[in-house]
Each structure stands twice: as structure tokens, then as C-alpha cells.
Amino acid sequence: MQAISRVAIGAAMLLASGSFALIAAADEPVAPPFADPSKARYISGELVYIDAVNRRAGIRLDGDENRYYTGPPHWFALLPYACVWHHGARAELRDLPLGTHVHGHFIAPPAGEEATIPSLPDDKQQFAIAENHALLIEDDFSYYQRRGQAWNVVSVDTAKEKITLKPIALPPAAIADAPTANQPHAVLPGGGQAGELVTAGINTSFTFDIDERSEIWQGSQWVELSQIRPGDSVQFNLTWCQGWGQGEFRIGRLWLDEASRTRATERQRQRHVQYERERWTAGWIDHIEHFDYGGGIVTLTLFDVDPQIIAELSQDRDERIAVAVSHKTRRTWFHRADRKFAKLVEWKNLESPPLGSSGVQLKLQFVELLAGYTPGGIVRVKAESWKFVSMPPEERLTSAPDQERANRMVLPW
């Protein structure tokens, strides 16, 4: 993890504690940088707990029998700019059903975030994993597909409820989505180059459990097990089975053809776009030039988001842009009211943005600044054409104690 300036520490403390601490004067306060994905730790497992509101979860790790029987899930928080992928499209944690097997890339908590995920009890300390802040979470579908790996059906035995799949490397043209600059498989551990099998995850023939609970998708239909044919090129999302501790999985969902996979991806993409419009797209503040008569010029970077959101924002760039104060959990207060409008001064497209960044940096001029506009502070940005929608009350932060509570995860068990 890169060194972060003292000012950033101060800013983060502000976010974390909700209290103001005098920070030594800095020349140009800047937002903390995005984490270096090459230093992230690969951890996979099944989602056993999701706190969708605060973007935190717990996964049961793959294949560690001792941990399976005696250890706790790995509790983690998503970084504010963390990416979640589901069915090959961007998503939120809330979009992933409980029981989905995911592949994650994690880093140790940034400075000031050490207390976000509570320590394990003393008797469980041996299971503690330092890397408890996720940079990227992907389901199997997204993980394998974006890395250019699919599966061939070798055999299906419906009586024994088993299916054997063999990994195949997809040709480069078949790799879906993601702009060139944001192909995590190229920089993340376990990811290979296009046309090669993954180095983390499952990269050999494997036999999985499959039964009537497994959702089989073909085209736009949910079909029977009997529809699976050897030779089909499929993608799957795995889930728990009894042999988990021995590294066994059950097929949770299976997509038999390209049409079903495309459909699933598009459906998830639409869900993500609508989510972003209602909750406004997230970013953080890089820099503020304050005016002592009110307002200032705020430079902010938008986090990774579907290109359609960027396009809509760009279309409305000459209109007023609303910016609501947010939180590391990306929650807002009552963002319909607790926002200020700004005029665009400059729109910059950054070259080769890091993982988590959309590559879009905006310079906005405000007449009034909210206290939550601080370098490194999370904000949510709205295009003028998006309708105001009030969020469900449980998503809103309502007070300083509420913010305090949101700063830390409470372990469910």
C-alpha cells in the first residue's frame, strides 16, 4: 500500500470518527490514491452474510477444512471505490444472492480504517486475515468470463447429480466487456492473459454437484437439467455443498448458451444503471480550492461505473450538477436535500485510470460548500436529467451517532 499523506490521515480520521482533528497544514490536500491492485490478495469463498446498506459482507473461505469446521467467515468491507461484478456486469453487493461463490481481491485496511472490521475474538485469532478490505468482488460468471475462461460440459449424470466440466480458454474476441484500461485479470493475482486459463480459481477439469436446485438458463428460459448436453460451452455460479470443506462445490446457476449469458449480463447492467441514477454515482474529492466568500472549486474523480452513466452525465454537463455528501459506505444523509449544485468548469478524461476509477475527473464550481466536502471525502453526483428519488430510510445516515455506528461493522456472530 502506498504511503498516504498526513493530511489524508487527518481527512480519513474526520470521516472515521466524525470528529475534527487539527491537522498540520499541507500545501495541497489531495485524496488518497487508489490501491495498487497488483498488491491485493486473492481470496475466494461463498457469501454467507451481506450488509447491503453498509457494503460489508462475510465469506466462507474455499477449501480450508479446519476453518470450515471451526473458523469464522472472513468479514470484510468494500472500499468506497471497490468494484462488484455479477453476471458479467457491474453490481452492488445487494445484487448477489446469499450463497453465491465469489472471487475477491483484498487489501489491508487503509490508514484510519483499521477498526472498521472488528478483530476476531481471542479464541479465533488464528483465523484472522489482515486483508479485510475488498478492492474487487466477482461471482464465478464474471470472474471466469472476463478472464477468458469458459467450461465445456464433459458429462452430466442426473441420477448421481454430478456434472463434469472442463475449463477452456476463450479466444480474445470472446472476452466481454471492460475497457482495455480496466481489465483486472491483467493486473490482479490469479489473472492470466487473454486466451490463457486462470491461475487462481479452478483451472482443471472438475466435477460439481448439480441437482434440481440448480438454475439452468438457456436463451431466455429456465430449463431442466435434461437440457444440458455434453459439449455445451457454459458459465456457472457455484454454491455450497456438503463437501465444501474438501473443496467441493454445487452448481448454483448454469448458463448454457451465449444468449442466456448476454441476457443475464444486460439485465444486471440495467439494474446497476438504475441503481446509480437513484443513489447517484459515487466518487471522491481530489482537491478543493476554497473562497473565503463562500463556495469554491472542487475537483473530484468518479468511481468505476457503467459507461452509460458517464454518457448521461456528459450529456447534462452544461446543466447544474448536484453533489451530495456521502460516506465510506457510500451512504448519504438525505441526498435529495443535503446536496449543493455546481457548474462544470472542466471535464477531464484520465489516461489509464486505476482499478476503481472511472477515469473521469470533474472540476466543479460551487457557491456553497458542505462540511463533508473534504479531500478524500466520498460524494455522490447527479446528472440534471435524473429524477430525484428518496432512498429507503434504512439507507440514510441521520445523525452523528448514526454515522458512528456506520463507521464500524458489528459482527453478526
Partner: protein, 1089 residues
Amino acid sequence: MKRLLPCLWMIALIGQAVLAVGDTPLVAEGAKVIKLGGDMKFTEGPVWLPDQRKLIFSDIPNSKWMQWTEDGGVSVYRPSEQANGNILDLEGRLISCQHLARNLVRIEQDGEITVLADRFEGQRFNSPNDVAVRSDGTLWFTDPPWGLSEPGELPGHFVFKLDPQTGKIEVVIDNLAMPNGIVFSPDETRLYVADTGGNSRHPDPAFHDLPPGIHCYEVSKDGQLGKKLFTIPEGSDGLKVDVKGNLYTTHGNVKIYDPAGKLLEQIDVPEAPANLCFGGDDYKTLFITARTSLYSVRMVNPGVKTGVKTDAKPADSPSPAEQDEFEVNVLPFFNAHCLRCHDAQQPQGDFRLDTLAHDFGSQQIAERWAEVLFRISSGEMPPVTEPQPQAAELGRVSEWISQRLKEGEAARMARRGPVTLNRLSREEYSKTVYDLLGVHFDPTMPGALNEDPRWHGFDRIGALLTLSPSHVERYLKAADTVLQQAFPLEQPSSTTNRQSAPSPQRWLIYPSLLHGQIRIPTSGLYRIRVQLSGLTSFQGRLPRLSIWNSSLKRPEVGQDVLAAEDAPTVIEFEAYLPQGSFQLINEAPGKLDDGPTPGATPTLLTRVQDYRPNPIGYKLFLEDGRSIFPLLLVDWYEYEGPIVPESDLRKRKDFFPASISGSSASDAQQQESQRREARECLSRFMARAWRRPPTVAEVDRYLDVFDTELQSGENPRSAYLSAMAGVLTSRNFYYVVEGSAAAQRERIDDWELASRLSYFLWSSLPDDELILQASRGELHQPNVLQQQVKRMLADEKFGRFLAAFPQQWLQLHRVGQFPPDPEIYPDYDKWLERSMVLESTHFFSDVFARNASLREFMSSDWTILNARLAMHYGIEFPQQAGFHRVSLAPRDQRGGLLTQAAVLSLTSDGTRHRPVHRGVWVSEAIFGRTPPPPPPNVEPLEPTPSDKPKATIRDQLQAHATHAICASCHQKIDPLGFAFENYDAIGRWRTTEKVTGGLGDDPLVQAGGALPDGRTYDGPDQFKKRLIEDLDRFVESFIEQLATYALRRVMTIDDAPQIRAIANASKNDDYGLRSIIQNSVASPLFQQR
């Protein structure tokens, strides 16, 4: 006033039948009879008012005086009692014969009507019909019974002669049947009287069958009627004469006779004419009242004027010698150099020289000749593109005009009425009330006093300060308010209230936040104390604590605060506060009041370092802990009052009888004693309030009010206050009266001098010392006057002049009139705006205090700034509250008045600077000349198109003003504004001009140019140097402005020599400001009516 007709006067060209009998037509070539208005009942008695360029005439059955102007057409002037014939007396006042009232009246300058006569030897007139005025001031009028509906009291239908000075009235003609129109010949050796002929209404049957006729009588030099010379056997209604002595009659049509009675010409009019008069600037327009309408036709000869005290020969008629000189020396010059552009064909600038009358006795016409003289003498005319005159011929023309102007001066002066009434401005009213009674009356409060109209910034020009029913109503209300405060039933007791923050916490007040509640139950003087710290913004801006009036949304008083967080200070204000609710406010720029954010912003803290911001509240601190905004941290505030200082109580103590209370007198003796004391107090009060001793009759009049109120059941206190209210609502209080009706004076007397002096230097009434000098009749003596002036300049009340005069002269009321757009100028705030104005007034005060030269108004190496303004200018300034003198370096780009932010911004329109308006301002404030207004329908400047390179406003203006009509004015005005292109709309220095739209970078400004006289300049500093080269001219202009302020009127060419004399006298002191003021008072101009 109700208009009978739409705004545009109806013109109906009517086919004119003119029968010329004589050799030379008298109707102007090509002229037609034009209908100016109709739909009246019976029009009569037209008379031309030259100073107002207005015709007054009667609509008899409708009981109205009507008026016509070129711009406004026909409308109602005022109601009458069936006025008929009208004329102007020698003082220019309207004299009228009224049918219904059966009298002869005069309308005074202030609009009041004086009945001059309504009976002869105890018997009422029939119904006076028409009137003529003689040069000795006597009024000759006819008295037929046309307006009489009952038998008359007099034994005949006479022609009377009235002397308004003495009131003596005599019959001059007693043997006419129905005398009607009446007029003197131009040399007053003849009197013409029309008789419409025998009528059975005459009490003497011998008159029943007399034939009609127009009789011509001899008149002696001393005004005695002589024998009849001849009779024209025609009837007539109204009569008039032209300068040649031709007689104009009205009977069926207009007939014109020569002085011998020979018919020369007839003019047909669509309706039968009843009367006529000459008017227009050159008196060649013949106005004809004919039944239901008003007509006009242009004539060759001008008519004889009335209302001018001159020799028998009319003033506008040049003598043969004068006419020769004009034709020999002046007319050829005009033909060669002027008339091509200034005649009927294409009058450039709407100025016609061919019809400019030679009536140098008319102020208006004389001013136009003065303008001609100025233009040709200064080289402005003829334009450089035209052939230029020789020096000798120019000299002859200038000499001729100057001579005529000089000769006409007496006539112009004589035209002015014997009494001048100038209403006090509302600011003067307020100061007068304070000095009189020790009561603060804020005239700007809603519903208090009407705002006064301004003339180029001056709000005390008597001619503009009219009186309307609204004014009177407000004076009544003001008098009540003031007296209730001065003499309350019970003196309100002073209380102290304190509010404290919950210790150890302090209230945090960020910009625009209103805090607390100060309830003022009674208007009065209050003392407010606040303990607080004031933290500067991270850019060094000071916070300002002000007391905010919640209902009027304005600060009443305030102060910059600089006190460290751990070293709070206590500041104290003493201010007059009206009844109402007030709050504390931090008056720094920044409008922090959007939506729920103020409610989410914590405003209590113990220490700044412990402040816990709410993320959805305002951001008040930087990440490093410094305050973003100027902040106030308040511990407590308290307010005490109302306070009534002893000095204020002393002012009023002699005006209210000690023996009078709210209870009635117990017995007759007490009543008598009260009355006696009431008279004494009232007398003192009136003398003080009216600035002169009242007459016994005047005191009696107000004492009657006291008596009447008592009789109607009021208690003595209320009754006496009613009398006092009467004094304060008398015109003698709110008007400055100069002159007397009895005699025309050219100088003011000592009482008037005391008032003029005190209103000039103190904006208020004279104090005891001045009154003493006035009562001794010594104030006008030079050494006494000088001593008094010295004393008054040292008095603290002189501060009122130091605040008021520069505000008016420099038109500082315009600062902020177009509020700068907050999007373009986000850090412009109201305190900055006020600071700008204060810089200029403080600057003026400093120049006065040192008796520094007026040169420093043009350029200086110092100015007076506060922190806010220093920040605006980008000038280094130590962190301190209040205004301080600072030295300026050349890099500061300031110095003098012209580059002060107030002056630079008052001409802006809220978005951009306006160089032409700046030029106009310089022309008015510095050179005392107002350029002509633009013609109508001038296209506005368009914004730069997006596909064209960015252009400055100057570039656009120069492209815009290429049309010849535009260029002629713009080349004189624009250079005066282009000198300041380096200053933006709110007076900040710049080198490029921000242009929205267009291609390329913002263009560089260009601040060079050439003055109308050819001298060039490059930038504001050089421009200032050019002005200093012409310092004499500026000084004279300044003195003119000072005199306008002091004398409450616009200066004329007649004042120019005296103004020059004051300037010359002040040259010895290098035109020191103090010296100029003293010399102005010492000048004869100051004591001139």
C-alpha cells in the same frame, strides 16, 4: 391631471383660407391653421408662459384652466371658477378674470390664489371678461355681464384699471355697451377695447342699441386714458397686437388691422374664434381659442409679450440698431457656418438657430444663446470637418452674443418672483427636527417622508421639490410622531437586557447568519454591547458585527472585529433604533442560507479546535484548522435603552409650558396662566422652527388652535401639542422662504442668510449664535460672516456637509443601484458597497481638514481605506478595523476620486462597466456639463458571436458609433470614459477584459485616447494629468456644484462671473477646499436671491 385627449396632440391640417389684403402676408409662408385640441365647451383667454413653454387657456363652462404643451398636448391645468381672459403680470404670474366668482385673481408662485379685486365701491363686479397689463404693473380689464345669471349691482358695464400694489381701482371707460377684448399697442400709447354692441342687459337703455366697434384710445405716458382716436366698425371678442402694432381681432374669423385701422388680412378658422395670443419660443405662433377647440398658425411677425417689466417696446423685438448689427455681423456667420445644419431642413441635435429668438430677457432663450456662445468659443462648432471661421468674425459674433446676454440680465432677474419657496429635503427635515427638539426621526423609514427627486445627484433643488397631498399627509404624521417622542406622557425608562451563550460554549456566527433577538419596544437611542472574538478568514478578511433590522432587512450600525479566540473584546454601539426587532449578523460576503444546510450547521462551540462539523452543514474550517470565513464567536450581548441624553432634553425644554399637563386647569386664573405660558412657549418654538421671529398674528393663529382644542374638550397637553403640530406642518417650517411679497429684493436679509448658511453647512436650522447675529442685523457684514463661517466649520455638525455634499456632487446614490451579478462578482457584498462610498466621503473630509488643493481630487498619493476595501483593491493593509489613511504606490493604480471604486462602479449596469456612462459622469461631475441624451431607438450592443474573436466593449462601441449623428456626441463623451478601461464594473484593476462568448483569449484593454480638445492620454494616470492641466476649469465647475448645493438651484450664465470670482479668490490658496467654501460664502452670490 386628467387629459381630455390622448398623449399625442391631435393635429388636423385644415385648409386655410387666408385673404391677404395688404402687400405683405402676415401668415408665414406655407403655414396652415392647425387644430391642437378639441372636445371642450368654450375656450378663451390664451396666454403663453415662456419659462414653461406652455399655453394656458380657459374652458369657461367646464370651470377649468387648460394647458397645452408641445409634448403633452392639451390637458387640464387646474379648476377655476369659470375663468375667462388671462394674462401674465410683470412678474410672470397668471392674472385671470373669473365669470362665476366675478373677480380678478392672481395665481402665486406656490399655487395659492389671491383675489385682487371683486367689487368697485362696494358693489360686486358683473363678470370680468378680459384683461391687459401695462408696464407700470396696472391691470386694465373689461366687465360685461356675460357670466352673470342675475341682475348686476353696478350701474354699467365698465372698463376698470386696478393697481395691485395699492389696491386702487378706478373706472377708465364707462360708455361702452358690452366691453370685451382689451389690449395696449406695443408702445402703450394706445388702448384698444372691443365692444360687441348694444345689449338689453345694460342697465341703461341708451346702451341697448349701440353698434359694435373696436375703439382705439390715446394713453398718456403716465397711464391716463385720453381721447378716442378712431373706431373700427366691427365687433370683436379678444384682441392682441404684434410687434409692428398690427391689431388682431376675433369676430367670425381672425382679422388683422394695421395701426391705422386698415384691414390687412383675414384668417379663417373652422370654429368662431373668441380670443388669441402669441407664443412659442419666438412668439410667432398665434394660438387661437375658438369655441370647443384650440388652434394655432405660424405668423411672420412675433407678438408683443406680457409678463416682462421692460420699456414699452417689447424685449424680443430688437431695436433697429440691434437688428442692423445682427444682420451685419452675426447673420452672415450663421449663414456661412451654422444654418446648413441647424435650420428647419435638418436641425442637427434638434437645435434650430434660424428660429432662436432674440429675447435675452427669457432665461431659457438666454441659456440657449449661452450654449451657442460656448460651442463656437470652445471650437466645438462648427465641426472640424466644416470650413472654420476666421478669428475676427468669430470674435464679433461672440461679442454680440455676450453683449446681448449682459443686457438681458436685468430682465431675467426681474422675471423671478419676489418670493422663493424651497422645500427642505427629507434629510434636512430630519436634521432640523433633531436640532430643534432632540428627536431622531428617520425619514427613510417606510411611510415616513417621500424620497426626494434628484437633479444630477442633488436632492435639494427647490424647483424639483414640489408638494403633493402625499407630502402634506406625511408631514402631519411626522409632526405627530416627533412631538410624541419629544413630549411623551411618561418618559420611558431605560432597561438593560442581556443574553449569554451557554458557558463554556460560544455562539458561532458565520457570514449572513442572523443570531439572537433584540426587541426594541420604543424608538430611541440604545447602547448595545457585545463580548466576542473575531476570526479572520484564511485569506485575511475581517468579520463585521452589525445590528440587523429584521423588518427593514438592513444593518443599522456595525463594526469590523479583530480579536483572537482566546482574547475576546467588548465592543459597544450607540445608535438610534426604531421600534422593532433586531438581530446580530456577521456582515461578510457569503450567502449561506440554502435549504436545510443552515439548520444542519452547528453554531455552538467551546474551542475552534474541538468544533465538530456536521457533514451536511456548512464547511467553515479548512482541513488544516483555519477558518474559511471571517467568523464571530460571541459570548454575550446586551442592550440598554432608550437613552435620552441631557443635551437632547435641553433642546426642547423651553418649548413646552411647565404649567400644562394632561389635566384641565382647575380655575380661570390657572387657565389664563396656562394660556400666557403657552403663548410664550409657542412663540419661542415658532421662532426657532421657522427660523425667524413670528408676527403676533401668526402666534395668535396657532394659539387659536390651542384654544379651539380646549373648547372641544381636549386636555391642555393635547391641545398644546396640536398647536405645535400646526407649527411643524406650516410651510414656514418645511419651506425655506426667501424674499417678500411686498417688494422685489435682490439680496436676502439676515434671517434668510442665517438659514441659508446653516442649511448649507449643517443641513439644519440656525443655532442661537446665528440667530443672535441675524437679530442684530449684522450677519451680512463680512467680518461677522467670516467669523460665523469659521465657527460653523469647526462645529461637529459640519460633518453633515462632509457626508452629504460629496454624496450628491459625485452622485454616490447610484452606487449599487444595479446590484452586481453575484455569479460574475461573487465576493461583492453590501459592506464593500458601503465602504466604497465611505472611502469617497472620508477622502473629501480629509482634503477639507488639511485645506488641501482640489488638485488632490484628480490625483493623490494617498487614500482612506478599510480592510474590506483594501482587499478589494489588492492593497496591503494592516489587519485593523475602521478606516485609515494609506499611502499609495504607483503600482496600486489608485489616487484621487476618479479611480475610487465608488465612482468607477456607480455607472455599471450590474454585469459590465459602461464607458459611455463613465464619460457622462466625468463630464457632469468634473466639467459641470451634461451631454445631450441619446436619440431614441438606439440599438444595444450585441454580445460577441461565438464564431468571432472576442472584442472589448470599447471595440464594440467604436464600431457602433460610426453614424454621424452618434459620432458627434460620442467623440466628446467616450474619451472621458475610455481612460478607465483598466477598471472593471466594480472598480477592480485589470489588464484584460473578460468576454463571454467569442473565440480566442480575453482581449487586452486599451485605456488611451484623445480629449475633445486634441490632447492625448495613455491610461488613467495620464488622463488625470490632463485634467490637472485644466485645473481652473474643474475648480469653476466644482464651485458651480457647491453653489447649486448651497443655493438650491441650478446655476445660470448670470452666475458665471461670480463663480469665476470665487475661483480667482481661491487661487491664492492653491484652490484649497476650505478656502473655496469660505470664499463662496463671502461672495455676493451667496447673499443673492
